[in-house]
Structure formats: C-alpha cells, structure tokens
C-alpha cells in the first residue's frame, strides 16, 4: 500500500520518474470523478428538487433601505414603498418559478408591463430589475449598481415608487432566491394604488397566491440552511486542484533536484496555471442579475 502511494506521489524509477497522479490517465480519472459528482448533483436537482439550493440573507426591507441609500448618496428623493408594485413584483417572481424561466419576458410573451397592469398599477414610467442566487443584500445592490442599466433604474429621478419581491422557489431544479424590483411613477395621483405609509416589515412581500404547492414561496427571505450545488462543486474542485498542485510541486522539486531527464509537460507552467485557476475557483462570485 505504502509502495503504491509512493508511486502515486513521488517520481522514481518504478513510475518512470513521473508521479502517477500527474499522468494523463490519472488526470482523465480526476475529470471523470468530478463529472460523476456533477451528474449526482444534477440527478438530485431533478429527482429531489429543493434539496440543493442557496441560502440567502436577503430581505425586502434591506433591499428597500439600500436602494434608497444609494439614491440618497446622490441627493435623490427616496422611493416610496408601494404594495401594489410589490404584488406585481411577486407575481413576476412566481411566474418565473412556475414557468421555469429567467428573463424580463416570459416564454409565453408576457412583458414586465403586463405584471404592472395585472396588479392594477397604472404607470407613466416603469422599470424592472431582476437578480437570483445572491447570498446577501450588499452583494446584490453592488451588482446592480455596477451594471449601467440596473443602476439607471435605481437612481432614476423620474421614479417615485418601488415594489420589491424576495421569493424562494425552485428554478431549473435548484432552490434559489429571486429578487424582483419594480419601479414606477403613477400615471396620476388619482390612481387607486394602496400605499403604505410606513416602511414595510422585512417580511411583508407576499405572493398573491402560491403557484406551485411544493415550493416554499412566500414572504420569508431567510431560508433554512441548504446545500449549495456550487459550493459542493467548488470544494471538490479545490480539493482535486490542490492535490494535483501539491503533487506537481513535489514532482518538479525531486526531478529538477536530481536533474532527471524526461519527456513531460512543464511543471513550472502547470503550477502557474493551476494556481491562477485555483484562485479564480476560490474567489469566483455567485449571483446573476438581469
């Protein structure tokens, strides 16, 4: 056993002066193992939807506060929370979950404006921001503010009101949190919209009705602890890359020290490449805006 392990990790005459783990056949095995793990994750998302997902700390209240905070930084008036707009945003999020899409327009051809109208909000100007898979509100708002089109919505001085939906559900087999912001200015002051005079509580954003009974749709933005498929993939990828990197360092140290001539790839370049990929793997950010 010890002999075999030594062949796996240490370059020596018996393994033709190349650690077995660095041979193309073993690299192929690593890829196969990783892909096997991915297929298990994918199977779980299909067979047991909702087991895997993201846990989010985002709340409607935090999104509202930080949106208004960004406006205040620029000297713009704060957006007034509007319950009808929140119903419109929640209807949009529920529609995305029930029809399994991620876009401003639904596969059935519904535009964001259809949701405003269905909720009974008559607007003179309106806009929509979407986000999914974010862990915290800070990251979410930063992402929107870094995107010119989303930023334009947040700091548009023509908007007077906002509705926010933070809804959990299963999208493409993965449990996630969708955040929908609906911005608008009412057509006139006589429009019969229900305005909230006080700031909403963190959990006031409710879906008009749950569209899929198995989804935990609704108000709470704080989900129970979930196993994130991305986190599993990251951990396994990091372990395999670190293992290859470690063996490469040992291998190159021994062979260069002994001046062993051999016909293999450059260990120095492999180490550089793997270090960069490992860094990208560790620091890659999740969360998508639309």
């Amino acid at each position: 056993m010890a002999g075999f392990l030594s062949l796996l990790f240490i370059p020596q005459e018996k393994n033709n002066h190349r650690a077995l783990l660095l041979r193309p056949s073993f690299l192929g095995i690593f890829i196969a193992l990783y892909l096997l793990n991915q297929s298990i994750i994918q199977s779980l998302t299909v067979l047991k939807p909702g087991i895997l997902g993201y846990s989010s700390e985002i709340t409607a209240q935090k999104v509202l506060n930080q949106t208004n905070s960004e406006r205040q930084k620029l000297g713009l008036p704060v957006l007034e929370y509007n319950d009808t707009l929140s119903q419109s945003a929640a209807a949009k999020a529920n529609d995305m979950f029930s029809n399994n899409y991620w876009s401003h327009n639904s596969p059935a051809g519904k535009t964001p404006w259809d949701f405003f109208k269905s909720a009974g909000y008559k607007y003179s100007i309106a806009g929509e921001n979407l986000a999914k898979d974010f862990y915290d509100t800070d990251g979410l708002i930063k992402a929107w503010m870094n995107s010119p089109t989303h930023r334009d919505n947040i700091i548009n001085d023509k908007y007077q009101e906002i509705g926010i939906a933070v809804i959990n559900g299963v999208l493409s087999g993965v449990k996630t949190t969708l955040v929908v912001q609906h911005f608008a200015t009412p057509l006139n002051t006589q429009v019969a919209v229900k305005k909230q005079t006080t700031a909403p509580s963190p959990d006031v954003v409710t879906a008009p009705e749950p569209l899929i009974s198995t989804q935990s749709l609704g108000t709470s933005a704080v989900t129970p602890s979930l196993i994130s498929p991305l986190l599993i993939s990251k951990i396994i990828g990091t372990i395999i890359f670190t293992l290859i990197l470690g063996v490469l360092i040992i291998d190159s140290y021994i062979t260069l020290k002994n001046n062993t001539p051999r016909l293999t790839g450059s260990s120095a370049s492999h180490i550089g490449f793997l270090l960069i990929i490992l860094m990208l793997l560790i620091f890659g950010r999740q969360g998508t805006i639309f």
Binding site: L27, S147, L256, G265, L274
Partner: protein, 90 residues
C-alpha cells in the same frame, strides 16, 4: 528554488505565460467586481485556450512536442473549463 532552474532555461516563454496569467487574474477580478458570472467564466475559457496554445509554442521551441505532452496540457485546460462551467453560477 529548484523550480526556477526550469524557468531559467526558457525565460521568454515563461515571461509570456506569466504576463498572460497575470492579465487573466486582473480581468477576472474586474468581472468579479461587476458580479458578472458569465464573463468570469469566459476568462477561464480564454485563459485555458491560450495556455494550450502556449504549450504548443513552448514545446515546439524546446523540440519535444509530443502527443502525450499536449494531452497533459489539454486535460488540465479541459478540467479548468469544466470547473468554471460548473462553479461560476449559470
């Protein structure tokens, strides 16, 4: 460090690779700052592709361009692409 012996044999090749990897890291962090998962993924794809091309150039210059060597680079680049595809949110 023993590993620098190898780099000293072909300093220009390794300098080119170093610059490519550093640029890749900067571009990646730029997209990371913008929470752009799609472009973060693209950086890994492009870096892996360039790494493969660099390996062809490097081993051609060294005079040891062999199928087994290119297969080694190809598998590492492929693994990086697969990991980017599966870990940077879809």
């Amino acid at each position: 460090m023993v590993i620098f012996k190898e780099i000293k044999k072909h300093p220009l090749n390794y300098l080119i690779l170093g610059v490519i990897l550093i640029i890749a890291a900067f571009v990646f962090f730029y997209f990371r700052q913008n929470f752009d998962a799609h472009d973060q993924r693209r950086v890994v794809y492009v870096t892996s592709g360039i790494y493969l091309i660099w390996s062809l150039y490097h081993h051609y210059r060294r005079g040891d361009l062999q199928f087994s060597i290119i297969l080694e680079y190809f598998l590492l680049a492929l693994f990086a692409v697969i990991i980017a595809l599966t870990t940077l949110s879809p």
